[in-house]
Amino acid sequence: MTFDPLVIRKDFPIFERSIRDGKRLVYLDSGATSQKPVVVIEAESNFYRNHNAAAHRGAHQLAEEATEALESAREVVANFLGGAVDEIVFTKHSTEALNLLAYSIGNSPVGNRFHLQAGDEIVVSEMEHHANLIPWQQLAKRTGAVLKWFEVTPDGRLDLSNIDGVITNRTKIVALTHQSNVLGTINPLTDLVKRTHQVGAIFILDACQSVPHMPVNVGALDIDFLVFSGHKAVGPTGVGVLWGRANLLDELPPFLFGGSMIESVTMTDATWAPAPRKFEPGVPNMAQIVGLGSALNYLTAIGMQKIHNHEIAITEYAISKLQEIQDLKIVGPVDMNLRGGAVSFTLGDIHPHDLGQFLDNSGIAVRTGHHCAWPLTRKMGVPATTRASFYLYNTLADIDVLFDGVRDAQKYFG
């Protein structure tokens, strides 16, 4: 099957609507959230129309069907990531998945391999999204652990000149993003993971911006935990994924407490079901999980490598075009070997908010601000940036519209 974004767009009903009095929607904000193909929308509504019941709770036919739908989706996710079925925990988004890890680690008693004590070290980086920064700040405060970080170079890469000085024998956790949601930088993981395991620490990957956009295999990466959000991967809102190595999920204490995650309960005490159940109390976000399964099947049918190639091509074109514009500065690497399809930039004195508003008036949706990575924008020496981010349904024509829009904005505010 050849990859044709114009054909793919037909799967996404939102492209049938127009923006600001009849303009074509040029959606360049998939880094914030992706659009949804009709199969995903219908997977969710089909579940409600035909199979809705509380999964894992009840011996009636609807409950059986709901359970089957839920567990098939778990299998899809496991296959997509190259993990085992029982290694997949469903959350509401990656933010919850990262908080789950931080709280569960905080709940680990003395003797548990995850137990943290004063002086232990947690390593993040300056390019983390707030979701992979603040939970660790707070865990450090609660436990007396020390938060350390890799710095970011002026051209927007992780400064790895001193890996062994940052990840030390005191390090217990290394939590890093796979691809920066601001800079587009894809971080090279091999040496980082190796060093992490050398010192006996665990490696947590924030794969929010990579799993939707390129083939990611947890085995090949040799990491310990991974999180991503369904809504950025053409899936529904309200569902995220935590993958963890079976033996680690086994030892990790639970996070949220309630029904269906227990083995036995008395008024004063409780014991836990095996993972993944132990991390999934309550009636699950069933329709959303089913929708996510359908989303990953959709992406797989198209092919993750093809999607990645397409995005690389678009990004390369976008960067070369944007660089033609006077006063436009790309914030992040311009070498295509180092990056994926999120491009942030500044435009002389024109504030990103004004630029974004102007582009919106032409039907172009971009994101402006600090993109939930405030320490990073500060480090890059800008108060805010404008970000265009790409996905399988974007075309080179979208880039041309962006290019014209930016130049028109310069005239308007000039």
């Binding site: 709770r57 009840g58 011996a59 409950a63 059986e64 359970t67 227990i262 083995e263 036995s264 079901a273």
Partner: protein, 149 residues
């Protein structure tokens, strides 16, 4: 009635007249297993003599499927060599997980073949397996104990 496939005569018989349902005073291993989704519980005592299962006894509360299944298990496994018991165990688990696609080997499973219908009711598979998982657990404990002796 479709349901008769699930609730075969043999099952209802074992449910009404369970075999070996009285915990023995002596045993090599004793285990307690629970099905947290429905609250079914079982205690199971196991004795292994010279590599042969010389006794299994049990007590518990639960639905007809879980009760009949453990009752059938005791009839089937007492007197068997431990290796043979494990092979029957594997057959039974495979049958349960077959979603109705396998009919099972009656020569191996004997009365337990009557539980084949359970495999079409995913929520009940755990019921049928409760006693079998307890047995497996107890056998591992009994054997590691005998190694220590």
């Amino acid at each position: 009635m479709q349901l008769d496939n699930l609730y075969q005569e043999v099952i209802l018989d074992h449910y009404k007249r369970p075999q070996n349902k009285k915990l023995s005073a002596n045993y090599d291993a004793q285990v307690h297993h629970v099905n947290p989704s429905c609250g079914d519980e079982i205690d199971l005592n196991l004795t292994i003599t010279d590599g042969t299962i010389s006794n299994i006894s049990w007590d518990g509360v639960g639905c007809s499927i879980s009760q009949a299944s453990v009752s059938i298990l005791t009839d089937l496994l007492i007197g068997k060599k431990i290796d043979e018991a494990y092979s029957i165990f594997d057959h039974f688990v495979a049958l349960m997980q077959s979603k109705g696609t396998v009919s099972g080997d009656e020569a191996v499973l004997e009365d337990a073949i009557a539980l084949a219908g359970v495999s079409k009711y995913p929520a009940r598979i755990k019921c049928a397996l409760l006693g079998w998982m307890a047995f497996k657990d107890a056998s591992v404990q009994a054997q590691s104990k005998s190694k220590l002796d």
